[in-house]
């Protein structure tokens, strides 16, 4: 079939960056049903992380039969339901040292971010496992590859940033619903182009696919703006909506919330007026409709969003995530 030049590929990978109109928000702040919470209660954090390690080990030897799988297992990669053994399972060769775990033992939910080698290239992997009776019933994965994302640097992902490992004192832990609501404000802030409504810590750092995207670089077009100030420039208004939104893992002990969301980019605008800077032209690829599916992890401490890290995969416009 078609042959594509490197230039074409590079062009196709270009980033979008800015457009559109503020969206309406919505959001179902999902309060987890109590019944679900009981499901995995017999598998604590160590147990969950152990099953996750088994998962990764089985994946690199391409052998799902090594895993404790429930009969009704569901597996998705980048929102597509596949047979376990397909996708990254057929190509992965080794796991890097970077492993960021997050768990919700009450719900039997385990998550990890890690770097995997695939035919000689690093990819950034998010895995969510649901464990019931010590068997895996759900596997949700996103794989950020150079070919499916324009920003990716796995070389930066060698060690987990210490803040993600800090434990929140029991007395200071917000409820699950409160944590989810704080993160929901972040997505509302994107839709409304308003950083003021988001409970950001003033020094909040965001790293996407291994690349720090806020505070910005002093040499970037917008300069070294904070995460909140960036939102208020309207530069993200190309993200018309952040929908659907799920919050499958809330790790209260560590102050972590994993949001699984889809950003929708209808590409109905090519420029945006940035206050104080005038009209800015957005990237070439705001010219066609597309979506991104994102697994985004938030560190909440002192009731502020201190740090954000995300795995981002580009997809056809409004492609279902497979879990709604």
């Amino acid at each position: 079939m078609p042959v594509r030049s490197a230039a074409m590929v590079a062009a196709m990978r270009q980033t979008i960056f800015a457009v559109a109109a503020a969206g309406v928000l919505l959001l179902a702040l999902s309060a987890r049903p109590p019944s679900t919470a009981a499901a995995g209660a017999d598998c604590d954090r160590v147990c969950l992380n152990g099953i996750m390690d088994q998962y990764l080990a089985a994946m690199v030897v391409h052998d799902p039969s090594k895993l404790p799988l429930a009969k009704n297992l569901k597996f998705t990669e980048d929102g597509v339901r596949l047979e376990l053994g397909d996708g990254l399972w057929a190509t992965a060769s080794s796991i890097g040292n970077y492993k960021l775990y997050f768990d919700e033992p009450e719900a039997g939910e385990a998550g990890v971010y890690t770097v995997v080698q695939e035919n000689g290239a690093g990819v950034f992997l998010y895995v969510r496992l649901k464990v019931v009776d010590r068997k895996i019933t759900e596997i949700e994965t996103l794989v950020a590859r150079k070919q499916t994302t324009s920003i990716l640097n796995t070389d930066n992902l060698t060690e987990v940033r210490p803040i993600f490992l800090e434990t929140i004192p029991a007395a200071d832990r917000p409820s699950r619903a409160e944590m989810v609501a704080m993160v929901g404000k972040y997505f509302d802030g994107i839709e409304q182009a308003n950083g003021d409504i988001v409970p950001f810590d003033k020094d909040c750092v965001r790293i996407e696919n291994g690349i720090q995207t806020c505070p910005g670089s002093p040499t970037s077009p917008l300069g070294a703006l904070s995460c909140g100030a960036q939102l208020s420039t309207k530069i993200f208004t190309y993200i018309q909506s952040v929908s659907p939104r799920r919050f499958p893992i809330v790790d209260r002990e560590r102050g972590l919330v994993l949001a699984a969301v889809r950003f929708n980019h209808p590409a109905t605008q090519q420029t945006v007026d940035v206050p104080g800077r005038g009209k800015m032209t957005m990237g070439k690829y705001s010219q066609w409709p597309n979506s991104t599916q994102i697994a985004e992890l938030f560190k909440i401490k002192d009731r502020k969003i201190k740090e954000i890290t995300a795995v981002i995969v580009a997809q056809p416009y409004k492609m279902p995530t497979g879990w709604e």
């Binding site: 079939m1 980033t15 597509v80 580009a314």
Partner: protein
């Protein structure tokens, strides 16, 4: 600043395949034309619906269309609201129009060029008409560098190649299922191509355009790199095993590309649908997905016994609309519009099991 990405179309090299998969048992075609039954829509009626559709699309106004109550719209495999997606971004018609009519089935296919925010795109459109209303709308919009260059090529052509336009004399016309079976040999031959199949289903004059790019019998250097990042070799005019080729050439014929066994990395061609057949012109319009698993299927043996590693290094899928000219049981013209989808994705028009299967649907 936050960069977000776009759905990317990547590349890779080529995709094909050919371990000869035995053809599935063919059942009798259920009336190809369940949709047409109640209120016939002839060729000019069908083409008229396409023209109305494109006009409404460019005007961003789906209310101009006569649609059924439960009309279904998909764009690049996603079921979205009519009026969303390309309906909000299309800005103009292009110069290339290729209609494929199937009055019996009440369906029409259209491949053409259009403009989106000032950029050329290639569109593959399928409409199903029931009682003079549109009940199904399936679109593939191919965008980005390759499609832009290919759209320019198609615009230069201005109309479908003569081979497509030739009518089949009435005495030579064959049942629609026979036409489909011939087209399906292309997918079966490409999937895990091993070079050892019977490729007599290709006519000697077979030629193929993919997103407007001629990818057979084309000696024009394409430049750029292969999926492995190595410079793309200059095209060679003829498949010659003695030169130990490790990737197929756009300079080769349709048949020689398959004979080389170098399309093996197309690991699965699935969800094969054949909704539109034009018996008068011997044309079959297919939809399908070309999977490239990028695992063991990258390592294979050529028919002359050489071990080769080739093909995309990451799993990915082409979503494709492919049009075949069939005459005397052979393929003479092939033309496709394709876009990269998420690996393993489905079309929205078949069951999950059909989506995963390489068995033809008819």
């Amino acid at each position: 600043m936050r960069n977000k990405i776009l759905f990317v179309v990547t590349v890779a090299g080529f995709f094909f395949a050919a371990m000869f998969v035995p053809a599935a048992p063919l059942q009798a075609s259920p009336s190809a034309a369940q949709g047409a039954a109640s209120s016939p829509c002839d060729r000019s009626c069908l083409n008229g619906f396409v023209d109305q559709y494109i006009d409404a699309l460019v005007a961003h106004d789906p209310s101009r269309l006569a649609v059924t109550k439960f009309v279904k719209y998909t764009e690049n495999g996603q079921h979205i609201e009519l009026g969303d997606g390309f309906w909000r971004t299309a800005t103009g018609r292009g110069g290339y129009k290729f209609y494929v009519d199937d009055p019996e089935a009440g369906q029409v296919g259209f491949e053409g060029t259009m403009q989106e925010a000032g950029h050329p795109v290639i569109v593959a459109l399928r409409l199903k008409i029931e009682n003079q209303k549109i009940s199904e709308i399936e679109t593939i919009v191919a965008r980005g560098g390759m499609a832009e260059g290919g759209a320019a090529n198609l615009d230069k052509l201005g109309k479908p190649r003569a081979g497509f336009e030739d009518e089949i004399p009435a005495a030579e016309r064959v049942p629609r299922l026979d036409l489909i079976k011939t087209a399906n040999k292309y997918f079966s031959g490409m999937q895990k191509d091993d070079g050892k199949g019977d490729y007599s289903f290709f006519g000697d004059d077979c030629n193929r355009l993919e997103n407007g790019m001629q990818t057979t019998n084309n000696m024009t250097p394409m430049g750029g790199t292969t999926s492995n990042g190595t410079p793309r070799p200059a095209p060679s005019a003829k498949y010659d095993p003695s030169t130990n080729p490790t990737s197929y050439s756009a300079g080769w014929s349709c048949r020689d590309q398959f004979r080389s066994g170098l399309l093996h990395f197309v690991s699965l061609i699935r969800d094969r649908r054949y909704p539109i057949v034009d018996q008068e012109h011997g044309i079959v319009w297919a939809f399908g997905f070309f999977d490239h698993q990028a695992g063991d299927t990258r390592n294979f043996e050529t028919p002359d016994g050489r071990s080769v590693t080739a093909g995309p290094t990451t799993p990915f899928t082409w979503e494709i609309a492919e049009i075949f000219k069939v005459r005397h049981g052979q393929l003479h013209e092939i033309e496709a519009a394709l876009t990269q989808g998420s690996y393993g994705m489905c079309s929205g028009w078949s069951s999950y099991e059909q989506c995963r299967s390489d068995q033809p649907q008819w």
